[in-house]
């Protein structure tokens, strides 16, 4: 680091010592600019993923095949909006604003998880998202509950609790389909076949190509490498797939006694990079829908602001 201020060096020593001692960094604490920027990038991307992630699932709310499933799915999509809110709040403690972050999402300057660029083609996709996508998210996020930045770590504790619940519901949805009629079983298998590889891509590029990993691990924002977490996820999913009576679409998947882990086939990184570049099946659709909702809602937000301005003296802030 450079010596920008006379005492930056001592601040930095305090910061490094706190991170080394597994203490939490809080909003008022001094932190390196790069640490702040890295957290804003990661938390914003996480928040955006919750918001964009509402779309593939909301796609099935109006067609949910039973009232019980409909209620579960609506509650889940509502939780995702709530997670987005916690995460934007956590990002705001770093000195940025929600409007600014949404603006960056809408203009493509900040990303969201590549997984949400895949379409939900059948009802079983709702189950596959719960089991695999939420399962991968939890595997990624549980270590973040111990992340060095306090507000992010605390948001993750709440998010992970709810995500675990959604994951079990997704598993149970697939189990019901798998044990249902032949057509339902086939629907479940087809969904798992389509969502398996994209779920493995959620852990990010392989360790030797991950640009941010080393620094994030040094700062204890990240606790495990992409490949470690991906392996952990595969090892968890294999027995679950067996209990579901479904197969995973990987001919190379097998137990490796020597490593004590499952070996698995190569990931199509060309597809991963294509989706990240904006060429996945739903990239345009997802971002356009988000922009549209935001633009269509502009007059509502303006009205709320105008009303609050007029009535600031006569009553407290009206409840949203």
């Amino acid at each position: 680091m450079t010596t920008m201020a006379p005492d930056t060096e001592s601040y930095e020593a305090v910061f490094d010592a706190a991170v080394a001692a597994d203490e939490r960094i809080e909003p008022r604490d001094w932190m390196p600019d790069a640490y702040r920027a890295s957290l804003v990038r990661q938390i914003a991307q996480h928040a955006h993923s919750e918001i964009i992630g509402m779309q593939p699932e909301a796609n099935w709310i109006t067609r949910a095949p039973s009232l019980r499933r409909k209620a579960i799915l609506m509650a889940k999509v509502q939780d995702e909006a709530g997670h987005g809110l916690y995460l934007y709040s956590a990002a705001e403690t770093l000195g940025t604003g929600r409007d600014e972050l949404l603006d960056k999402l809408h203009s493509g300057r900040q990303k969201y998880s590549s997984i949400f660029n895949y379409p939900t083609l059948t009802w079983a996709d709702v189950g596959a998202i719960g089991w695999l996508v939420d399962g991968a998210a939890i595997t990624n996020q549980v270590p973040l509950c111990r992340c060095s930045y306090g507000p992010y770590a605390r948001a993750m504790v709440r998010v992970c609790k709810e995500e675990s619940f959604h994951q079990r519901q997704g598993y149970e949805l697939l189990l019901t389909l798998s044990r249902g009629t032949e057509a339902q079983h086939a629907m479940a298998q087809d969904a798992v076949d389509r969502w398996w590889w994209p779920s493995l891509m959620m852990f990010g590029p392989p360790d030797d190509e991950s640009a941010h990993s080393a620094q994030s691990m040094a700062w204890k924002i990240k606790r495990h490498s992409n490949d470690e977490l991906r392996q952990r996820f595969v090892d968890i999913c294999v027995p679950q797939a067996e209990s579901l009576g479904l197969t995973l679409p990987d001919p190379d998947l097998r137990w490796n006694e020597e490593r004590g882990h499952h070996d698995f086939g190569p990931i199509d990184w060309a597809e991963f990079h294509a989706v990240l570049r904006g060429n996945g099946p739903c990239n345009d659709q997802r971002i356009n829908r988000r922009r549209q909702a935001h633009e269509d809602g502009a007059w509502v937000r303006e009205a709320a602001a105008a009303y609050a301005g007029k009535h600031r003296d006569t009553q407290g802030e009206a409840r949203a």
């Binding site: 918001i51 509402m54 779309q55 909301a58 709310i61 109006t62 067609r63 949910a64 095949p65 039973s66 009232l67 019980r68 499933r69 409909k70 209620a71 609506m74 509650a75 999509v77 509502q78 909006a81 709530g82 987005g84 809110l85 934007y88 009802w123 019901t176 389909l177 249902g180 009629t181 057509a183 339902q184 829908r289 549209q292 909702a293 935001h294 269509d296 809602g297 502009a298 007059w299 509502v300 937000r301 303006e302 009205a303 709320a304 602001a305 105008a306 009303y307 609050a308 007029k310 009535h311 009206a318 409840r319 949203a320």
Partner: protein
């Protein structure tokens, strides 16, 4: 699986089935419409609020339909002419002002109705006692937004007035008698009008002057006569369930 019920029994146990269906269908259909907002709301807080209201209504619907029969059979296997909801709740979302106007009209009615039902000792009293708390929140939410939109910007004022005017013709049906209901809903009209008038004026808006019913809207929804968008709505709602006869989900 079971066939769609050709007709509904007059009473299912001690519960007047026609009334349970009428109230249950109102909640089911409005819940569905509100859920269409998921991912489209103007602010994140409204994603949470609208889904929250939709979930409350779905809970009410499931309770009420279960009093009559199998909730899924009733929701997914009846055809348009067998639904008993008022036409107001099936109206498309339109812009945010239309959604808020529909919610204001309906929640105010529902709060009055559930308040009366909760005070009695009829078969709906337990549900109404619980649901009246939810509905009070729904009305409060709609009322606050009516104020913000009506007394916000010029554009929001215009849109809110347009929405109130457009939906006004569907409000008369709320006060048509409901078969088997212990509360005389006709008698709720004055209290409803007083509450709506107060909110509308406070929002610097005008109470619509048109008739509260179209040529045949009053009472029509309760007789199974619906508006055109409704058929499309239930086609979407029912198609998956109907595509797999006998399946469990």
């Amino acid at each position: 699986m079971k066939q769609a019920p050709a007709h509904v029994p007059a009473t299912a146990g001690a519960v007047p089935a026609a009334a349970a269906l009428a109230l249950g269908d109102d909640a089911l259909v409005l819940s569905h419409r509100l859920a269409e907002w998921a991912g489209n709301a103007p602010v994140l807080e409204e994603e949470v609020a609208l889904t929250n209201i939709a979930l409350d209504l779905l809970g009410q619907a499931r309770f009420l339909l279960s009093l009559v029969g199998d909730e899924d059979e009733l929701a997914y296997l009846r055809e348009e002419r067998a639904f008993r909801n008022v036409q107001l709740v099936e109206q498309p979302n339109g812009d945010f002002a239309h959604t808020i106007a529909r919610q204001l009209f309906f929640s105010t009615y529902q709060e009055l109705l559930f308040g009366r039902l909760a005070a009695g000792d009829g078969p709906f009293a337990p549900l109404a006692g619980k649901a009246v708390k939810e509905v009070t929140y729904h009305r409060d939410h709609a009322e606050h937004w009516t104020l913000r939109l009506g007394d916000g910007t010029e554009e929001s004022h215009r849109r809110m007035q347009t929405a109130l005017d457009a939906l006004w013709r569907y409000t008369g049906e709320l006060f048509e008698p409901v078969e088997g209901l212990e509360v005389d809903v006709t008698a709720l009209r004055d209290a409803w009008l007083t509450l709506i008038t107060k909110t509308v004026r406070q929002a610097t808006l005008e109470l619509p002057t048109g008739p509260q019913a179209g040529a045949w809207t009053a009472g029509a929804g309760r007789q199974g006569l619906h508006t055109e968008p409704f058929g499309r709505m239930i086609a979407e709602m029912q198609h998956l369930h109907r595509s797999h006869p006998g399946a469990s989900w």
